[in-house]
């Protein structure tokens, strides 16, 4: 793209901007699968963030529907006990809230599952409330659980990714840039961490703290254990999971970051910056960091499905979120434990499809990001 020197000056507005971000976006657009994945993820994120809009009443506990309405995100969930009477949600909220309990459903879908549609007798003028995808054995709406489970999974993915990216990035930057003994020591620590049985560690932590919580259920637990338990409860049982994910995955990121720093450190523009007189801090943050961020983000995006699966797996075996918090893994476990599968075949499909859709989308997104960021870097 050689432009003749001394040509007619084009105004800045007329020039087609070509920042690295715009170039990457143009390359990203070419990959159709990743565009679809991005759209899907945006939709999933949007639904998860605006969950209360779609699941106004009776979402988690049909019996205490009015109370359930206030628990709009998993972090604040109280632990609820199952009641036997599923119709009270509609009954309680009839007068105060004319909206649907769950997703809007036309009259024709009434026939789907009679058990899950409530029309409070004898007032037939009111609209019918339906659980569109059915409910679990406790009478909780399956769709609403899925939507709130999306909140849990996405938060696990995002928090896990962010934590491991930040920690790994800083660790790899310091280790790769300073080299020598510092690098040696830091990488031996990473090697040690690689052998660490993190899953066992998570399970042990969960089991221990659950046991402690059970023992001191009535008394107000003081001290560190009490604080940790309270925090865990507030987060719907996710605290240990976040800690474990932070401990697990930053090492892969650190290794990759270090490798990238080692290769970029010898490039001539870094030498040029040194020749100009830039100090170490400037070289790290202005020259190295923007260049290595691309591949690291790709790596992180491709690692998110792993975080989501880990959380689902742990919830499935009962060592993840607390019993009241909805999670896709817990939903699958529920189908296995309490049945319902043979009367409603679709019930297993819902959380499974949600899980698969989310993880596949992240995978394709990561692929698209890699296409967008790598070819341009190969060109320089």
């Amino acid at each position: 793209m050689a432009v003749a020197e001394g040509a007619e000056p084009i105004s800045l507005e007329e020039q087609q901007r070509s920042t690295p971000f715009l170039d990457a976006w143009r390359l990203f657009r070419r990959n159709k699968a990743s565009l679809v994945a991005l759209t899907t993820l945006i939709i999933i994120f949007f639904i998860a963030i605006t969950a209360p809009l779609w699941t106004t009443v009776g979402l988690l506990d049909a019996r205490t529907g009015a109370q359930a309405r206030h628990t709009v995100n998993p972090v604040n969930l109280p632990s609820v006990d199952p009641y036997p009477d599923p119709g009270s949600c509609a009954r309680d909220n009839l007068n105060s809230n004319p909206y649907w309990c769950s997703w809007l459903s036309p009259e024709s879908l009434v026939t789907v599952q009679n058990k899950y549609c409530f029309r409070p007798e004898p007032d037939y003028s009111q609209k019918q409330w339906c659980y569109v995808l059915g409910g679990d054995s406790n009478g909780k709406d399956w769709l609403s659980q899925t939507i709130y489970g999306a909140q849990v999974s996405l938060s696990v993915g995002v928090v896990g990714a962010t934590m491991s990216l930040i920690v790994g990035l800083i660790y790899g930057l310091v280790s790769g840039y300073y080299g020598g003994r510092i690098d040696n020591v830091m990488m031996r620590i990473v090697d040690f961490m690689y052998g660490f049985p993190t899953l066992v560690f998570i399970i042990l932590m969960q089991v221990y703290f659950t046991e402690v919580a059970r023992q001191y259920q009535d008394t107000d637990q003081q001290g560190i254990a009490g604080f940790v338990l309270a925090l865990n409860k507030d987060m719907g049982g996710l605290l240990f999971l976040f800690i474990a994910l932070g401990v697990l995955n930053w090492i892969g990121m650190a290794r990759q970051a270090r490798g990238l720093v080692l290769s970029y450190r010898e490039k001539e523009f870094v030498e040029a910056a040194r020749a100009v007189g830039a100090n170490n801090r400037r070289i790290i943050f202005v020259h190295l960091l923007p260049n290595i961020l691309g591949p690291l983000i790709v790596l992180e995006t491709l690692a998110i499905p792993g975080y989501i699966f880990t959380e689902a797996f742990l919830s499935f075996i009962g060592l993840g979120v607390q019993p009241g918090t909805p999670s896709w893994g817990a939903m699958i476990s529920e189908v296995r434990d309490r049945g319902g599968f043979f009367s409603n075949r679709h019930i297993l499909l819902v959380p499974s499809i949600a899980l698969v859709l989310t993880t596949l989308s992240f995978n394709f997104l990561g692929d698209g990001l890699r296409d967008a960021l790598d070819p341009r870097m190969r060109g320089t």
Binding site: S18, T19, G277, A278, N279, T380
Partner: protein
């Protein structure tokens, strides 16, 4: 006028004929840069060293262009970088305007950097692909905290015009430019701080021949306008002859001959220089076919294990016994023509 300096440290630095009146800008004395080879898992010991620069001495006078030539791997680039203190020299001294710079650190070193800059070889790797051209050229000003934002913008526009680029290019990114243009951007960056001395490390090797001419003309123009002094490191001998006032020839980390440009090309004294010059093709086909080429046998020895005595003795066509015992010193054979060879002394 052939006197060697009574300098006890240096092997023998070329004399500054003080009657000459020329001011010495850069004085390099017995500069050495060895890169250690370490071995061992936890406690690494130095087992050998790559002697990239092994005792180099020369002077660069103000306003001139000194060419530094030699084959790949002889240590030219390392010499250039060590002079600029991008590498810490293993031993030896570098004096800039009479002031010793090898022991400067921190802020003093940074202030020294304003006076000497470097232009790099690879136009594709010497510019940060994530920074716009304006930011790249303004970086020296930002690092040294010079001027307000507006003043910096003006200076960047001025620099781009100086090297022959349209100032509207400030917001563009390096990958949108051709090799020759990128080299100009690198040149603009090195001029930002108004340096006196520029080390040009093979600035045209990666460019097209037609573009090479443009860039060399630009270098000459800038030298005249701004009064710059160049250390021009290259391996294209014909270009060096055109551009440089004096030329130094390096072999395996040592300088073997320094002379004025025309003198070197018409009267090369060191056998290595003679072989090097005979490798340059002559544009006249009749002459090219009939002339005698000196072809050296063998390969360049490894810089980890330089041969005892003269470095060139493994390939020299005229070596004698003393060449295998003693390292020859750089001696002024003719006025301002220094050679390091036992056969010539």
């Amino acid at each position: 006028m052939s006197q060697s300096m009574p300098d006890t440290q240096a092997k023998s630095a070329p004399a500054t004929s003080s009657a000459d009146g020329r001011k010495v800008l850069v004085e390099v004395t017995d500069l050495k840069k060895h890169f250690p080879i370490k071995s061992g898992i936890l406690f690494q010991r130095e087992v050998a060293a790559v002697k990239a620069v092994d005792g180099v001495s020369f002077r660069i006078y103000e306003g001139e262009t000194l060419g530094l030539v030699g084959e790949s791997g002889c240590g030219k680039s390392t010499t250039g970088r060590t002079i600029l203190q991008l590498y810490q020299p293993t031993s030896g001294s570098v004096k800039f305007e009479g002031q010793e710079i090898t022991d400067l650190k921190g802020n003093a070193l940074r202030r020294m950097r304003r006076k000497m800059q470097m232009v790099f070889q690879d136009p594709y790797a010497s510019l940060n692909p994530r920074m716009s051209v304006g930011r790249i050229v303004a970086e020296p000003l930002v690092v040294h905290n010079i001027g307000t934002k507006k003043e910096r913008e003006e200076r960047v526009a001025e620099l781009l015009e100086l090297v022959g680029l349209n100032p509207y290019f400030v917001r563009r990114y390096p990958h949108e430019f051709s090799g020759g243009q990128r080299q100009r951007i690198g040149l603009a960056r090195s001029l930002a701080l108004n340096p006196k001395f520029i080390v040009a490390d093979e600035p045209i090797s990666a460019l097209d021949v037609s573009i090479q001419a443009q860039v060399v003309n630009l270098l000459e123009k800038l030298q005249n306008e701004l009064g710059l002094t160049y250390l021009f490191i290259a391996h294209d001998l014909s270009m060096v002859r055109h551009l440089c006032d004096r030329v130094a020839v390096m072999y395996l980390g040592k300088v073997v001959e320094i002379a004025e440009s025309e003198e070197l090309y018409t009267n090369p004294l060191h056998p290595y220089t003679q072989a090097l010059l005979s490798a340059v093709p002559v544009p006249d086909p009749v002459v090219e076919e009939t002339r005698q080429r000196i072809i050296l046998k063998g390969d360049v020895p490894s810089p980890i294990n330089p041969p005892k005595g003269c470095n060139f003795n493994t390939r020299c066509p005229v070596s004698v016994d003393v060449c295998f015992d003693q390292d020859p010193e750089l001696v002024e054979i003719l006025p301002d023509h220094w050679v390091a060879c036992h056969r010539v002394i």
